[in-house]
């Protein structure tokens, strides 16, 4: 008996996590690790301790993300391959962007961003088609387009990073310093967050709504590029020359992205909620995920946003302590970050402890987008302060 008991116990156990990893998982890990190792070997000399720390910290995160969210591996490898080939095509000559066919039409930062724009527009259209024409095929296309757009955007940023160094080693910096770069980052992260939840919740019906925000951002980006030449790479002001930027800014944009996602799901929620009363046979009532799922998704997105925005604000304070001489100066930007946090804290408490659900919370999430948007752009446009780097 006892022997069989042994096997029985074993059988009720669980295969170890490691044994669940596929060869592709290991390939991904190997490539990510060796990439990081190469960067250390090649540029270690010019990186300061913090930058090395960031790199060493980010690599496992990257690997884990790929393991936890499988499609991300393909995305990551594609982006890496294309960005590297772009860097290779550039060599040491910025001018190659004019002469080399692939750079000119595909892989130069500006071209990649233009591809991103086109793909995002197409993705938005496809999502709408799939929603209203009730076509799953269009939905699949939309998903692919969104992935490609995100890839193009990330490539654009990475290559821009390289280009800034080609302009002049002094000018070189990570592309997170002005509104143009911020907007690409925002679209990219919002899209990726959406893609994650799309897979998690097995529904494409929300794509149309989320892509609306992205398209709005895109409209601004294009205006900013063509009207204000916002895409030109400018040297950094001394205050921005800090490793903090490399972690503070991304954390912020995960926050912004998640909050906008929540708001757009909120809109979808309200539409379905109404449709169920008005015409139960309509697209909104039939194609959109159930109210319960959307409510849950809204909550998930806001918690994600709250977590990262808290982190970002804290990092911002630590940075401010080094650059401005105090961890908190009530500068408009940081104050608005606090406002965003307080607003969402109130939201979470309402929902969590009063058990509120449904339309009011959805309206609140949508309203929250206005607050977030103001913190993101309004401050730069209308208020003056220490943060006036990313101003128009």
């Amino acid at each position: 008996m006892s022997a069989s008991q042994e096997t029985l116990i074993k059988d009720f156990g669980k295969p170890s996590f490691w044994s669940t990893l596929t060869p592709f998982d290991w390939l991904w890990a190997a490539l990510a690790a060796s990439g990081a190792a190469y960067v250390l070997y090649r540029y270690g000399a010019v990186m300061d301790g913090y930058e090395t720390g960031i790199l060493v910290g980010v690599t496992p995160l990257l690997i884990a993300t790929g393991w936890y969210w499988k499609p991300f591996r393909v995305f990551g490898l594609a982006v890496a391959a294309l960005s590297l080939s772009s860097v290779w095509l550039y060599g040491a000559q910025l001018a190659n962007a004019e002469t080399n066919f692939f750079l000119q039409y595909l892989l130069a930062s500006q071209s990649a961003v233009m591809w991103m724009s086109a793909l995002f527009i197409l993705a938005t259209l496809s999502y709408f088609i799939s929603l209203f024409a009730r076509s799953d095929y269009a939905g699949q296309i939309a998903t692919t387009l969104t992935w490609s757009a995100a890839a193009a955007g990330l490539i654009g940023l990475l290559v821009r990073w390289r280009e800034s160094y080609l302009i002049h080693p002094d000018v070189g910096h990570i592309p997170m310093s002005n509104l143009y770069e911020a907007f690409i980052l925002f679209m990219l992260i919002t899209a990726l967050l959406y893609l994650y939840y799309e897979r998690r919740y097995q529904t494409r019906a929300l794509g149309a709504f989320v892509m609306l925000v992205v398209s709005a951002a895109l409209a601004f980006l294009l205006w900013f590029t063509f009207d204000r030449a916002g895409h030109e790479i400018q040297p950094l002001v001394p205050a921005l020359k800090s490793y903090w930027m490399k972690i503070h800014v991304p954390a912020n944009f995960i926050g912004y992205g998640a909050f906008s996602l929540a708001a757009m799901v909120g809109i979808a929620y309200l539409l379905r909620e109404r449709a169920e009363r008005v015409n139960p046979q309509g697209v909104f009532a039939t194609r959109l995920p159930s109210l319960e799922i959307m409510d849950n998704l809204m909550y998930k997105a806001i918690t994600l946003g709250f977590g990262f925005f808290t982190l970002a604000t804290v990092l911002g304070a630590l940075w401010a302590a080094e650059a401005w001489g105090g961890y908190w100066s009530w500068d408009p930007k940081e104050t608005w970050a606090l406002i965003v946090l307080l607003n969402n804290a109130a939201w979470l408490h309402f929902r969590f402890t009063k058990g509120w659900r449904g339309a009011p919370m959805a309206w609140w999430a949508v309203g929250g987008l206005l607050v977030t948007t103001f913190a993101f752009m309004g401050v730069n446009l209308f208020l003056s302060g220490l943060h006036s780097y990313g101003s128009l």
Partner: protein, 653 residues
Amino acid sequence: MSTAIPSARRSAGAWIEFLGSMNLAITLLAALAVSSVVGTVLQQNQTYESYIIKFGPFWFEVYKALGLYDVYSAGWFVFVLGFLLVSTSLCVYRNAPGFVREMRDFRLQHSARSLRACAQRAEWTVAAGAQALSAPLENYLRARGFRVRIKPQGAGLLLAGMKGAVSRLGYILAHVAVVVICVGGLLDGNLPLKIKEWRGEVRLETKPGILIADVPQESRLPASNRSYRGSVNIPEGMSTRDIILRVRDGYFVQALPFEIHVKDFRTEFYDNGQPKSFESDLVLTDPERGQPLEQTISVNRPLFYKDFAIYQSSFKDGGSRLALRARLLGGGKAISMEGVVGGRYTLNAPGGVLTLELTDFRLHNVKSAPPGSGKKFVDIGPSFIFKLRNEKGEALEFENYMLPLEQEGRAFFLSGVRSNENMPFSPFRIPADAEGGVEGFMRFAGALRDPAQRAKAAEHVASAGPSGARTLGETARELLERFAAGGFAAAREYIRTKLASLSGEQREQVARAYGALLQDALQALYANLDLAQVADAERRQQFFQDAVDALGALPEYGAPLYFELADFNQLQASGLQVTRAPGKSIVYLGFGMIVIGVFMMFYLPQRRVWLVLSEEDGRTRVLFAGASNRDPLGFAREFETLRDGLTERLTKL
């Protein structure tokens, strides 16, 4: 009496109830958010003048009373903050014990009946004894991250599993963090100073631009002060023991317990002129420390010492020495003088006594390069900025460049003029002479001012002219006189009066004749100067034209003098910010707690599962149930996988 006590206790309880209540918490969170907005839309800590201009006297007073010019230390704002503090503390005080208990409590009192109420449920009947099943099932749960407790229950067993109990810990961390952060922030805030001010122990100094040494004792804060954040400009090679704390429309002088000496200050610029980096070599001498502490600081690389931090925040001119040559625009010799940026000097000019205020010196002036020059930017060299003030106190501001600037292939000395700070400088161009200096132009200007020379030039024109030359010479002289006095404008005016009698197209001709006459007269005047000349006749003519243009515009220049920068010795001042923040480490602790706590709450939700094994004649009924404190859908999904796993294994038995 006897009833008073319990009722009092009850009311105290009611207070705690209210203060720790969620409704209040949410109200406070919202209130704080809204009041924070005020300080961002209304620029804080500007001068009262600017506010009066913005809002007018009435609203200025209203806003002042509301403390809107420094919202974040206004009484009512601090009150709301304190309120949230109390509320959060009480909330933790009320919830924490329960949560901690809950973290240990596996809810072993549950029975099959009570568990059938759970949303997540599954049941199996298995041909095996409860005892035999318990070990495998325990392992099943443990392998999936649950802590497990087992309790015999009637003719069977209860296995209780729990996961993510730390989410409760997260709650405690995050909320205590809120309190910790506020307390730390309070330590670093200016509340003590406010109280001192309010009790009248200190007085805010509002006189602008007086020397630190002259600030009265009642506006000085002792080095013992625990927390502050001030700034100071220290010229290279100088030291300070005092810093300035800007408050509302004035400032205090804060004494430091140590001396800061700026040994050297360096700036680097990008080739578009934008500052790339600036850094200072500091020497900090603290009697308590013995040997001085030397360190180089730059933006983002401050010097930390005890609970002080010294930051590189800006730079300005620290009193550069300028060697100037003042030239009367009516000719005469150049007067050499020495000046220091920041200094004032009185001069006896023809128009009366003038005060020269040297306000700034710029070593580099980067402008976008003329197209086709290949480069994108050029540095057109040093310039200095000054004000000329007359007895009435009216001032004009000037920016003069040291080196001549190439324009349309000719060299000019630029001097910008403006009557107020918000206007751009309007340029006045003096053509460089054959030696590349202003001498030639100055002599020309001198000659024009000199009646004798004007007469001589008029003679010359007359003699060269046709018969009736008498009036011609006369006219030429008058023209020159007007031109000398009022430039082009005056000359034009003079001609207009002369033409009054004539008819339309006659005017045209005669006007042109007058123009030509003035031109000739100036030409003659110029010829008499016998300046050193360049060989190329065209260039010579070009210089003459440019000079005439400058002379014609001279009256608008507004100053009887032109200042040349002969030599300079730049001295920069390093703008430092000195912070004393004893609460910093506390705040940082809070930061750590809130981040960790929040992520714990969100991503380690508490999940409980129960397995009730009830044995009836050799067969065992297995009831599986679960519950979570957060994210029902997420848990439902997790429960399904757990359930399917069990189904697969149990049905094999």
